[in-house]
């Protein structure tokens, strides 16, 4: 992952070119391509979308349409440790809503935002399928099960 500021560097453009080429510059593979590009850059800012559009010979509007349609794609950089709270039904009935509220309060950010220090970003998601452990919070790749509101401080302190 590398952080992007304004114009893309030649290296970044080459990375995007290579990814598009590995899919034969076929616009039908746009979603798989965007997945790979997001993996590389961490997010899909407009500069990156423009570069992909040039490679695939399609309009930026079309790419923006796809990026904004799917929740998996993001145009804002995520935190170093992205936090996701499962709001699937199983987690909801076992109390995931108060957990999300507590995280919002502790981190002082809303869902979809990143803390000013770039450490944590907060998202909600719908079901990771670990319903036996409900309610579930995911930090990075680590899954925390049967989380209670008062566990939040302890979980966050593991990353500070």
């Amino acid at each position: 992952m590398c952080a992007l500021k304004e114009a893309l560097s030649p290296v970044n453009i080459k990375t995007i070119k290579d990814i598009c080429q590995s899919y034969n510059n076929n616009a039908g593979n746009l979603i798989n391509i965007l997945h790979r590009v997001q993996e590389e850059f961490g997010y899909l800012p407009i500069e990156v979308q423009e570069a992909v559009a040039r490679e695939l010979s399609i309009s930026v509007a079309k790419i923006y349409g796809v990026v904004s349609f799917y929740t998996f794609f993001t145009m804002k950089p995520k935190g170093k440790y992205p936090i996701s709270v499962c709001l699937g039904t199983a987690c909801y009935v076992r109390g995931s809503e108060p957990i999300l509220e507590e995280l919002k309060k502790t981190l002082a950010i809303n869902v979809g935002e990143t803390t000013p220090d770039g450490f944590f970003s907060l998202d909600s998601l719908r079901c990771v399928g670990a319903c036996g452990l409900a309610p579930v919070v995911i930090v990075g790749e680590k899954v925390y099960g049967r989380v209670e509101v008062h566990d939040i401080g302890k979980i966050l302190s593991e990353y500070k």
Partner: protein
């Protein structure tokens, strides 16, 4: 192949891996190596056993010992006691909650006794990353049988006669779908597997892909043979990294064995499979939306006809089935249509996988014959309601389904009965709710989901659901009026009749079914009460001074520091600081905190 005298099957599904089952496997292998037993005892990482509540699970074969909630540090004891000395580790055995005794053989567990596992036949038995284990359990034999004994038409006939219906939602007969796709002539056709399992609380497709990926590949190849397609596509959620990884391994192994590629098993059939990723859009479970998404477009549905069988992916004839449907196909070919249709009810044949979740004791994945009652599923297999609370409702069919109540507990579950009761089968999620769940909030929860996931193409779904959500929000905040209830009825029925696709047409179901079954609860919210005591606008947490022992347990868990008091003296809650999260009530051992 080495001959092992004992196998330790360890669940490597997403749920158990979240509870460190990978570390457990490593530890078991290390202890075996130090004892020089690594040629005697084999550790196998399998797919999901279904009993997710008590994971991680270790099953010892051949004696069927079923260890639950096993921690990585238990590895040494299992090897020393069980593998070396032949004594079961009794503290890790599953304890039957009713009889309060340890069950040493998984065959005697209530959870498994009523189940018939067809789609889940290999989950928890084989290593999903090893094609030989799948083949050892008759894997790819159905493909061989179809290619050598049946014509494509005869194979379709077997599926038609079996009565298999789509397990993804609507329950369309699978054989008929294949027949349609086979009738359209084109030299380019597609077989698509819908693995975009979007229902919150349903995880059967993920478990099948993680536990038995080859069964899906085999069924897709058979489908390709039947409809005359050379290309298969699996559309899978990007949120399922483990399933994607195992599918990739399975596809590579199948290619190595000549089961994918040119001239499969020496026949004239050529077929290969590609993976396409979803990107988090619930509507992509709808087949036309899914196809657009695979084409690199926004996943918006289009009006049918034309059906995908005529003009699907890239405008070519396409057959779309979901994971669980495909998983049943190879067994049907091997055991015959009559065998499959002997299970189930008159119009719904075979078995169905359900994901039990919510306020139930045995959260997990189960597979039962169609026609099993909700009571059997919830109270016998599911072990009843958590913490001895009263059953209130079970939500089936995800955001498209409805809430069923006490009076529906004895109806046999099948496609028709669930629809007649105001819900639907959907993909098989079952969320159990108890007396503490507010049904207006539950309806609001589902509506929030639909509003977020609506693709925005048609007005009834885009605007109508938003208005319904706003009304429900007002109701739960104590600003409700009795006209609002009528408005919900009206909006609900209009959206149902006029929305473009399956998502929109079924989106008012959670509201309409709760309106019908829990009308009183809606009225109560208008009158300023929440009978379940869940809606924060209507409640206050109070400490009963007589019962409070001043143990300070509540002050330690209160996230806002709203509770104060001297040790061994009754405490009080500052109502202004209280966020009504209810943690203190759950923590109090003396029932001293009540909701008013």
């Amino acid at each position: 192949m080495a001959q092992y005298k004992m196998h330790l099957l360890v669940c490597g599904g997403t749920g158990c891996r979240a509870s460190e089952s990978t570390k457990l496997v490593e530890n078991l292998q290390t202890v075996l190596r130090t004892n020089g037993l690594d040629n005697e005892v084999q550790v196998v990482t399998t797919g999901c056993f279904g009993f997710c509540e008590k994971g991680p699970i270790v099953k010892v074969m051949p004696d069927n010992t079923f260890y639950v909630e096993v921690k990585p540090k238990d590895a040494e004891e299992i090897i020393n006691e069980h593998a070396i000395k032949g004594r079961k580790v009794s503290r890790l055995l599953y304890v039957d909650p009713k009889k309060e005794e340890a069950v040493s053989d998984s065959k005697h567990m209530g959870f498994y006794q009523k189940q018939i596992r067809i789609a889940l036949r290999n989950c928890g038995f084989i290593n999903p990353e090893n094609i030989d284990e799948y083949i050892a359990r008759d894997g790819y034999a159905a493909l061989g049988k179809a290619l050598t004994e049946y014509s494509p038409e005869q194979t379709i006939d077997v599926i038609k006669k079996s009565g298999l219906r789509g397990r993804g939602g609507a329950g369309f007969p699978t054989g008929l779908k294949w027949e349609f796709a086979s009738k359209y002539k084109d030299n380019e056709k597609y077989v698509v597997c819908n693995a975009d399992e979007g229902d919150p609380g349903a995880f059967m497709d993920r478990s099948i892909l993680e536990g038995d990926p080859h069964s899906i590949l085999e069924a897709m190849i058979i489908c390709g043979y039947c409809i005359g397609a050379r290309n298969g596509l699996i559309y899978i959620r990007a949120e399922y990294p483990l399933a994607i990884q195992r599918l990739k391994i399975a596809i590579n192994q199948a290619r190595e064995y000549g089961l994918l590629g040119e001239n499969i098993l020496g026949s004239s059939l050529s077929f290969d499979i590609e993976i396409r990723y979803g990107a988090g859009a619930f509507v992509c479970g709808e087949e036309t939306a899914l196809i657009h998404s695979m084409e690199g477009e926004r996943g918006e549905p289009t009006v049918k006809p034309p059906f995908p069988a005529e003009a699907g992916y890239l405008g070519k004839p396409t057959n779309v089935n979901n994971v669980e449907t495909y998983a049943s196909v190879p067994v049907i070919i091997l055991k015959g249509a009559d065998w499959f249709s002997s299970i189930g009810t008159e119009k719904s044949k075979g078995t169905k996988v359900f994901a039990l979740a919510g306020k139930i004791n045995n959260v997990g994945l189960i597979e039962v014959p169609m026609g099993t009652t909700l009571r059997e599923v919830i109270f016998e297999i599911g072990g009843g309601i958590k913490n001895g609370k009263a059953f209130k409702a079970v939500q089936t069919g995800g955001p498209s389904g409805g809430c069923l109540t006490e009076k529906h507990l004895d109806i046999p579950i099948d496609f028709e009965n669930l629809v007649a009761s105001g819900s639907m089968m959907g993909s098989g999620g079952m969320i159990v709710m108890d007396e503490d769940d507010c049904m207006v909030s539950v309806a609001k929860f589902y509506l929030e989901f639909t509003v977020e996931e609506s693709c925005g193409k048609c007005a009834p779904c885009r605007v109508g659901n938003k208005r319904m959500q706003e009304i429900l929000d007002q109701l739960t905040k104590g600003n409700g009026t009795s006209e609002m209830i009528d408005q919900l009825y009206n909006l609900g029925s209009v959206i149902k009749d006029t929305a473009l696709c399956g998502l929109g047409q079924t989106s008012p179901n959670p509201v309409l079914s709760t309106l019908q079954n829990f009308h009183n609860e809606y009225v109560a919210h208008v009158e300023g009460r929440c009978p379940a005591g869940q809606c924060r606008a209507f409640i206050q947490f109070l400490i009963i001074a007589k019962k409070c022992t001043g143990c300070t347990a509540c002050t330690r868990v209160c996230p806002t520091g709203a509770i104060t008091g001297e040790r061994k003296q009754p405490h009080t809650i500052d109502q202004l600081a209280c966020i009504k999260c209810g943690v203190c009530q759950r923590k109090c051992k003396f029932n001293a905190i009540e909701v008013m």
